[in-house]
């Protein structure tokens, strides 16, 4: 028995359903009842109940693409700020994809404090210790471009269904947009005006994430920027 409708805004402690449903994020069970734990939108799919939080910090999960900022170094690697309660650890061997003899090599030249790196979460243990790796194309140190930070809960909207929004952002502007699950986004491109348009679009998406017609408004914004560019 469901007490709310799909996409309804719920608050912590609000009764969502009674019965044997499969619970996903943002919910908890007490006996036969299912409640929301957060402020969010109910997402009902068959027997699955999900509450999409409208606010919250980023909690690292294996396989996530993240954008981290170096805050410290240690003997065999670096510690990253991930815009999360948890920092990430990158061993030099995972940065360079080869074994490193620390007795012979001085690794301090590879990354400095403040450097930005696109990485993937390799593993998270039960103590929430996070291991990173940069073992795929497009990962590694970022040398230029713009860094935008949005609320992590809005990242799905930036990507869009099957990546549709992200494709729109890239195709309309010719920029490369790397989206971290932790709310950080790197925009790289040759045309500063187009890069700025992407920034504006991202801020619009963050503001209006849960409204309809957003993709059209974003497309319009990008088209305007292109034409103002003066051809």
């Amino acid at each position: 028995m469901i007490h709310v409708h799909d996409r309804e805004l719920v608050v912590p402690g609000q009764l969502i359903a009674e019965g044997s449903y499969r619970l996903q994020e943002g919910t908890f069970r007490e006996g036969n009842q299912v409640y929301s734990a957060v402020v969010g939108l109910v997402d009902l799919r068959g027997r699955e109940i999900n509450v999409i939080p409208l606010q919250g910090r980023y909690i690292p999960s294996r396989g996530d693409l993240v954008i981290g900022v170096v805050i410290d170094s240690h003997y065999s690697g670096w510690i990253f700020d991930l815009n999360s309660p948890y920092t990430g650890n990158l061993f030099v061997s995972d940065l360079l994809h080869r074994k490193v003899d620390l007795n012979r090599e001085d690794i301090s030249g590879y990354l400095n404090i403040g450097d930005v790196v696109i990485a993937m979460v390799k593993d998270v243990d039960e103590r929430m210790r996070v291991l990173l790796e940069t073992d795929a194309p497009g990962m590694g140190k970022v040398e230029g471009g713009e860094l935008v930070e949005i609320s992590p809960v809005k990242v799905p909207r930036v990507l869009g269904r099957k990546g549709s929004m992200l494709n729109t952002l890239q195709d309309a502007t010719g920029c490369r947009v790397s989206v971290g699950q932790n709310g950080r986004i790197i925009i790289e491109g040759k045309d500063q005006r187009m890069m700025n348009a992407v920034v504006e679009a991202l801020l619009m998406i963050e503001r209006e994430a849960h409204t309809s017609g957003l993709t059209d408004r974003v497309r319009l914004l990008l088209e305007k920027a292109k034409s103002v560019g003066g051809n």
Binding site: D81, G114, L147
Partner: protein, 254 residues
């Protein structure tokens, strides 16, 4: 926990500055949206809440009896205190005021005291024993840069808004404010000067200069901050900027 402005953002800010632009779309000589709400706190004798963009500061003025300083037995006492409450920023910690809060309070204090905005001579009650103390308490609620200008503006707005205490010892017709000192902070990023640094700009600026002026443009307080230096020309250039912006800020006072 320190504020990290990653190298990418830093380069972006520097690049924009070269073109005379800033992260939030302002020009170098533009202040963020300013709002001054006067009298929100009824338990205070005077109060004001200032918003400078997202920076939010609440200033409360309390007037109480106090003992005078021995060398000025008939003068009132001015005490300015600032609290950088931890709710205002992840980098503010609990505990007694440390150097940032202390500097903030002392710079605001200097602006009020050195301009002689308040005629403290009128605040004697019983010479040598009892005078009026004016407490100006700065309570920072949301830190997005440039706390000094917001706090100084809040302080003078709150003072202008004071209703004297209901106390038979209060003999003045009105609260004696003579001047309206206003602080304006200018920051230097490379060779560019910009007013009202937001948090991102503050985190990577080379230096800042705060100049407090009164209505006729005369300077009553100055404070240079930051790890870098300023040239003579930059300081004089800053003063020109400050003069113009102080007049604009003063428009927000009653």
């Amino acid at each position: 926990m320190c504020e990290i402005v990653s190298s990418v953002k830093r380069d972006y800010i520097i690049d924009l500055a070269k073109q005379g632009k800033r992260v939030d779309g302002r020009t170098l000589d533009q202040f963020r949206d300013v709002s001054v709400e006067v009298g929100p706190i009824k338990s205070a004798n005077g109060s004001a809440q200032v918003r400078l963009g997202n920076t939010r500061v609440l200033v409360g003025v309390k007037i109480e009896h106090a003992e005078p300083f021995p060398d000025t037995p008939e003068s009132g006492v001015l005490i300015v205190n600032a609290e950088l409450r931890p709710l205002a920023s992840p980098s503010f910690e609990l505990g007694p005021p440390r150097e940032k809060a202390i500097e903030l309070a002392r710079v605001v204090d200097r602006g009020i005291r050195e301009s002689e905005a308040i005629d403290l001579e009128k605040f004697g009650i019983k010479p040598g024993e009892d005078v009026w103390a004016v407490f100006v308490d700065i309570h920072v609620l949301d830190h997005d840069g440039n706390l000094i200008d917001a706090s100084a503006l809040g302080a003078i707005a709150a003072l202008l808004n004071v209703k004297p205490p209901e106390d038979e010892a209060w003999s003045l017709k009105e609260f004696p404010i003579r001047k309206r000192p206003v602080a304006v902070t200018v920051s230097r990023i490379n060779d560019k000067l910009m007013v009202d640094p937001c948090l991102d700009e503050e985190s990577m600026m080379d230096a800042r200069l705060t100049i407090t002026t009164t209505e006729d443009g005369s300077i009553c307080a100055m404070q240079k901050g930051g790890v870098g230096y300023l040239s003579r020309e930059q300081i004089e250039q800053a003063y020109q900027l400050v003069r113009m912006k102080a007049a604009e800020l003063r428009e927000h006072l009653r």
